[in-house]
Amino acid sequence: MKKILFALATTAAVIGFSAGASAADKAKICFVYVGSKTDGGWTQAHDLGRQELEKALGDKIETQFLENVPEGPDAERAIERLARSGCGLIFTTSFGFMDATVKIAAKFPDVKFEHATGYKTAPNLATYNSRFYEGRYIQGQIAAKISQKGVAGYIASFPIPEVVMGINSFVTGARSINPDFKIKVVWANTWFDPGKEADAAKALIDQGVDVLTQHTDTTAPMQVAAERGIKAFGQASDMIKAGPETQLTAIVDTWGAYYIKRTQAFIDGKWETTSSWDGLKDGILTMAPYTNMPDDVKALAEATQKKIESGELKPFTGPLKKQDGSEWLAAGVSSDDGTLLGMNFYVEGVDDKLPQ
């Protein structure tokens, strides 16, 4: 047995070395995923970005990824393995990878790192994020136009600033059309459990919401909405297949543009650390086609999207009140990014309490 093992080992080593040599002249761009690359949501969107990157710069780079990496010490090990395997630029695509990325970045100063949705940077560690809330503002406006009852249902995952920001943006958008608009929130306490998400959707619909939006990753809520004959918004990817007559639009994460931009900079030797927070205008998120709505609503949505893209409209602009009725932003004042990134309060119109 030992002999066989030894033979295996040596043969494999030889193969391994020869494979390594041929690829050495291409830059290696690596990705760490928290979920499965076919999860239909968050991770899949990043993997589509990776595929786009390969298509665009495939002659100069090769890509590599590790999927289903648990947050914590496992992430540290996974990132270190990639750094050691010759990756020049590593994207870590979950907030929970933040401290692991910081630690490994300090250990490998010659490797560049980019961490999604975090806030810690270093000379060789950049952060990137997407202004998903811009899309949610448009969704809120559509919901206010479509809803007969003036109540939308919101399936939320976990109370982190990202999600709270989305809820607030949705409500702000809706209230710009119908000042009495309300939303009901259900926390599923999961990003990914089709059954539970479907149950949450049913709970909301049974209590009278007639338009549904979600900040969880599966298409299950869309399917329930289709079954019950109400309209809904997709999340992370275009979910039109799950509800051809149901989806109004969806926020589609399109990371590809960013990955291509940064990788190009890396190849050219012009990579620098940044904290970028791109939005609709940069193409880091796009809206799925506006469907299943009257033409005037569609026109409104398109107009709002244009205004956001041109910078004419900022979703969080006063007068805005917090949930308890106290003033948050005075008329004409827009929120700074710092407040948004750490958002832990609701605006007026949310029928829920945040854990403090």
Partner: protein, 364 residues
């Protein structure tokens, strides 16, 4: 084809040693075929899986980090299982230990002293033990089945941790993200040797394994555990109380799981987060049985299982495949190891092809 087993008069020493290697051989063959079917080079896949993680110092450290909680928890569980107490909630005890131990660095973060670390470890063990005391009490005094209670409490512990790090224990300087403050240097379990980041958690694991091994083998308590586990009636005749044994085994395994939890948090994560374990408490159940409920066997089993995780990542990187085939491969390995253990106690007769029998005769 029919397979029949014949019990060996004695445990086969040879097969005790040989069966893992036979299992490995079978896994290599079947795994190799699987990788071939996927269009990947089976040899380099197997090399990356089993050898590559062992060739570098940093990776050996990672192996120790990954194996430490598995071994610590499994050693405690082995005492439970030997005494017929089915604690399958070690995951929850791991989490509660981590929470209890973190009280000092999170709530009393200003107190910096060399006493902090030992106290944290102690609190961690207490937290785990107290959480295990719930199913122990319910079983010993209210006759409630511990499989259900310990399992259900896992979910309760997970949700409690989730609430803590999003609510009262959230880092005030952390942009409202769900994490506690990072532990102060005095609350971080130091590295064992300077060459890498493996912390003392691994030392605890080895120490616990040796102590429990000694207890099982040389003390009256060990005898008591074995007797009560084999037959409650016999135990009663010998004057042992099965009720006391419920308490002893559950508290012991809870304490070790709790220690694993706080050691993991203090040594490897250095803060509390919504999720601190990728299922160590459940994986440790497999480790306990792979190690044949023997503490020293558990050390080996824990290292092997940890290797399958490291190896799995190495294969993903070197072959560019997804992690699904890796998990299938891991399952195959476990299956072969478990089935080959049969050879230790039994001779296998296949009715149309009697090869094992002749070789086994030679061994005796």
């Amino acid at each position: 084809m029919r397979i029949e087993l014949e019990k060996r008069p004695d445990v086969s020493k040879l097969f005790s040693l040989l069966s893992p290697f036979i299992a490995l051989g079978l896994t290599l063959v079947f795994g190799g075929i699987m990788f071939m079917l996927l269009g990947k080079d089976p040899l380099s896949a197997l090399y990356s899986f089993f050898i590559e993680p062992l060739t570098e110092t940093w990776s050996l450290h990672e192996l120790a980090i990954k194996a430490a909680p598995l071994i610590l928890i499994a050693v405690g569980l082995s005492v439970c299982y030997r005494s017929n107490n089915w604690n399958i909630g070690a995951e929850g005890q791991f989490i509660m230990g981590a929470i209890a131990g973190s009280i000092l660095p999170v709530v009393f973060y200003e107190w910096q002293s060399p006493l902090v670390l030992p106290l944290m470890m102690l609190l961690g063990m207490m937290g785990g033990a107290l959480f295990a005391a719930i199913p122990a009490f319910l079983k010993a005094h209210l006759n409630t089945n511990e499989i259900l209670t310990s399992l259900m409490l896992v979910y309760v512990a997970q949700l409690f941790l989730d609430w803590l790090v999003r609510g009262p224990w959230r880092n005030p300087g952390g942009m409202n993200f769900p994490e506690t403050r990072t532990f102060d240097a005095t609350a971080i379990l130091p590295e064992m040797i300077a060459s890498g980041r493996a912390h003392w958690g691994f030392g605890f694991a080895i120490l616990a394994a040796i102590l429990i091994w000694f207890m099982m083998r040389y003390t009256l308590k060990g005898f008591e555990i074995t007797v009560l586990g084999q037959s409650e009636r016999a135990g009663r005749f010998a004057g042992f109380s099965s009720r006391k044994m419920i308490w002893f085994s559950m508290l012991l395994s809870g304490a070790l799981a709790g220690l694993a939890g706080i050691a993991e948090v203090s040594g490897a994560i250095q803060q509390l987060r919504p999720v601190i374990s990728p299922g160590y408490g459940f994986t440790a159940i497999i480790v306990a049985f792979l190690g044949r409920l023997n503490p020293l066997g558990i050390v080996v089993a824990g290292l092997v299982l940890a290797l399958t995780y490291l190896g799995g990542e190495a294969v993903q990187v070197s072959l560019q495949i997804s992690d699904k085939p890796i998990r299938v491969f891991q399952g195959l390995l476990l299956f072969f190891v478990l089935s080959c253990d049969t050879l230790i106690h039994y001779k296998i007769r296949m009715m149309w092809f009697d090869l094992t029998d002749t070789t086994a005769d030679g061994v005796r």
